[in-house]
Amino acid sequence: MSLLILSLLLATPIVVVISSVFFPAGDIWTHLLDTVLTRYTRNSLLLMAGVSVGVLALGIFPAWLVTVYRFPGSKVLEWALLLPLAIPAYIIAYTYTGMLDVAGPLQSSLREAFGWRYGDYWFPEIRSLGGAVAMLSLVFYPYVYLLARAAFNEQSGSVMEAARSLGCSKRGAFLRVALPLARPAIVVGLSIALMETLADYGTVQYFGLSTFTTGIYRTWNGLGSSVGAAQLSALLLGFVFILVSLEAWSRQQSQFFNTGARSRPSDPEALRGLSLCLAYAVCGVPVLLGFIVPFLQLLFWASITYDTILTSDFAGYLFNSVTLAALTASAALGLALFIAYGKRAFPSNVSRVSARLVGLGYALPGTVVAIGVLVPFAWFDNRLSEFMVANFNYNTGLLLSGTVFILVFAYLVRFLPIALNTVDAGLTKIRPSMDEAGRSMGLSPAALLRRVHIPIMRGSLATALLLVFVDVLKELPATLLLRPFNFNTLAIRTFELANEERLADAAGPALAIVLASLIPVILLSRTLRHAGEASSSLPQASVPSDENQ
């Protein structure tokens, strides 16, 4: 029962946002509809279309090359292709803007080399829809890569051989068999990438694009309409639900696309000459542009600005970030354990539904979570202070709204599913028969926990902590809306400095975030060896079904 209450509590943001549709918002709504709504929708759709093309192109082909061929460095590329996951979208956007802007090093040196002046030549404008598509594709393609790679890896070699023996060339076998077989997995990867795209705030805000997330922020802060913001959020949620269903459906489909155990590892073929160069280009470009170039640029900027960065202010941001992240991670772990064990001890529809409700959080854009949290908290604070003023003549003001508490709550809504997934995965390793075996040998429940469960679960628990910790560190839009006044974190500081066009100064906090984010990516790449595990350590929006219970 407490499970259900907990998950309902965590689901309030969704309920609030959806129910807002039924409240009249007066002029704001018609105003939005008249002016910007079509623009938001159009931009968001264009962005999604562009990112789809980008992540598919950047993700599928390297996945195919590293699973089917062997070439010098292919093992390194296999995990290096994941590195861009460590760079939050807004940070890569700031970095490339710094590099490619009119005043940036590239255009400056072009002007110098050819004696051009500004306006003499055409240069792609990075702060555009196309630029945003490029930035988001570069950091979100690993989702497609990871799932496509796992799918290609699981395909039995003899299925490809069967296609060859039926007259297909290598390319034909890829197009007619390997790709269609991997399609469900690729769609799962794509829908995760698109959810991230919809959730992105930092990049589109910086590039001045009007999308749903920037619209929600503007409606809330600029127009001061909570209902309007909530209604926009509801619309955005509509898109998200389409993606979540697509993801869940594809996951189900992929069960039927199982080609059975791999009969033999299809001998990787060696590449030579032109095809080798091509393979390096296809696998190398995403890593180079998605990680190495921006990382080096950040390092360079940080090295020239370190004396202004390493101040007591910086220590303060770091402390705030780490405290928030640690607080959220431990709370998430505790709640995840509670839910996971509850589901295990009392397998019922109630506990399953609870877990499913919690699982939805991951799909929610940070802006939507923020609105969904702000509205009820403000209502609660107002009622409370009314009550206190009436009865005790004491104004509590906004007791919770402007505090760290609301921030952690929002983080939990969004990131608890990640912890829950990881803990669940760990818990399934402990089969009920192990409990029974332990009890039959005379272990008390406490001893069972200490001697069986904890040793087996330790890895999963650490992973859960780490994943939530890093996600909180990176989080921008919800933090921006919910943070207490003058409360700064590394992500906020990066955002503020970039918006003051102090890109080089922003490199310090940005680099700190990237370095922290590298840890889980490296962990992920280590599990890559075992095909299948890699995809399960990915957060997924749709909670895995519990049929096996």
Partner: protein, 354 residues
């Protein structure tokens, strides 16, 4: 004279520097069904994959219909050599319906011809009701039929079947093997089958090659493999039997513990030239005869319906097998009269005692 559909000349295959297939030669005439028989790890599957073109040969050559497709210098691409392959795990395309699976290799045909060919094969293999199903809904036997239909659809020069029945129930195996043989013969397909199960091989193939340690020991029909194995290893692998000691006395007489054999009554019998020889006795060579002076003690017996398979111990302690009609029921430990009734007999020089 037309060239054989499939011909292998001294084919060697190395995998990872190791010699897996050692100088194998054989030929299969058009429409013939051959079987490569051997224990797992003997190199038979590698040989099959070399014929298919998945592995290249390190010496020798593979020819299809008179044209060399594999030599150490050149391995013709799989898709260009017109071989059909049926895989051990069937390897149906899970994203395609049965109909589309069968039609997969028929891209170059018009839609009408493609549909006609699919229907024809569906009828032959009795899978007409399954055409719109997807592979994950099929049983193992049904998947096997679809896999064979798919491989046969483009009318390959040679159909290669890798342990095609190993994933099926034992009861189903021989029946399906016979049925598939009928289909192949009906279509006039040349086929090579790989198997570790001799009964499957007997049921399916015209000629069988016994492979051990990468070498082809004997290429012959089932009858000859059983009754006149060319070597001890073949004798050991095919059928049940025991070796007993014998002494060649004169030109036409062999003395054994079970009596004297007049070799003039046996077809195609050749003495190996030594005095001490080993004789391969099949269970059907040792007859139950209560009147016989030769007695042996029953050690084990297995009821096989119409017959008992007795394991008998001779006075010397040597054991032989005997098939007796099951109404001759002797208890374990009892003595039982036996005599030799040999139509085929193979003798090998006696192996030195190790």
């Amino acid at each position: 004279m037309t060239s054989p559909a499939l011909q292998l000349d001294n084919v060697c295959v190395h995998l990872g520097g190791k010699l897996i297939v050692d100088s194998v030669s054989f030929r299969v005439p058009a429409g013939g069904i051959g079987c490569l028989l051997g224990a797992s790890g003997c190199g038979k599957t590698t040989l099959l994959r070399a014929i298919a073109g998945f592995e290249s040969v390190s010496s020798g050559s593979v020819s299809l219909d008179g044209a060399q497709v594999s030599t150490p210098e050149k391995t013709l691409d799989i898709e260009k050599r017109r071989v059909g392959m049926v895989f051990q795990d069937h390897s149906l395309f899970p994203h395609l319906s049965v109909r589309d699976n069968i039609a997969f290799g028929l891209q170059s045909l018009t839609a009408a011809k493609r549909a006609a060919r699919v229907d024809e094969l569906a009828r032959l293999l009795a899978i007409g009701d399954l055409l719109d199903a997807y592979p994950h809904r099929l049983s193992g036997g049904q998947q096997q039929r679809v896999a064979i239909a798919r491989a046969m659809a483009p009318r390959p020069e040679v159909l290669l079947l890798d342990e095609p029945f190993s994933s099926l129930d034992v009861e189903l195996r021989e029946q399906l093997a016979r049925e598939i043989r009928g289909v192949l013969k009906h279509e006039g397909v040349t086929a090579i089958l790989v198997s570790h199960n001799q009964f499957e091989a007997f049921a399916m193939a015209d000629e069988i090659g016994v492979i051990k340690g990468g070498k082809l020991l004997q290429w012959d029909n089932a009858f000859n493999l059983y009754h006149t194995p060319a070597s001890l290893a073949v004798a050991d692998f095919i059928g049940e039997g025991v070796l007993i000691d014998g002494r060649a006395v004169g030109e036409h007489t062999v003395e054994t513990e079970l009596g004297v054999i007049d070799t003039r009554q046996i077809q195609d019998f050749n003495l190996p030239g030594t005095t001490d020889i080993s004789l391969l006795l099949r269970p059907d060579d040792v007859f139950h005869d209560d009147a016989s002076p030769t007695k042996a003690r029953v050690v084990e017996k297995a009821f096989r319906g119409a017959v008992f398979l007795y394991t008998l111990e001779l006075e010397s302690g040597k054991r032989v097998l005997s098939l007796a009609p099951s109404h001759h029921d002797h208890a374990i430990g009892e003595p039982m009269g036996i005599r030799l009734d040999v139509e085929h007999l193979v003798a090998f020089p006696k192996l030195p005692v190790v």
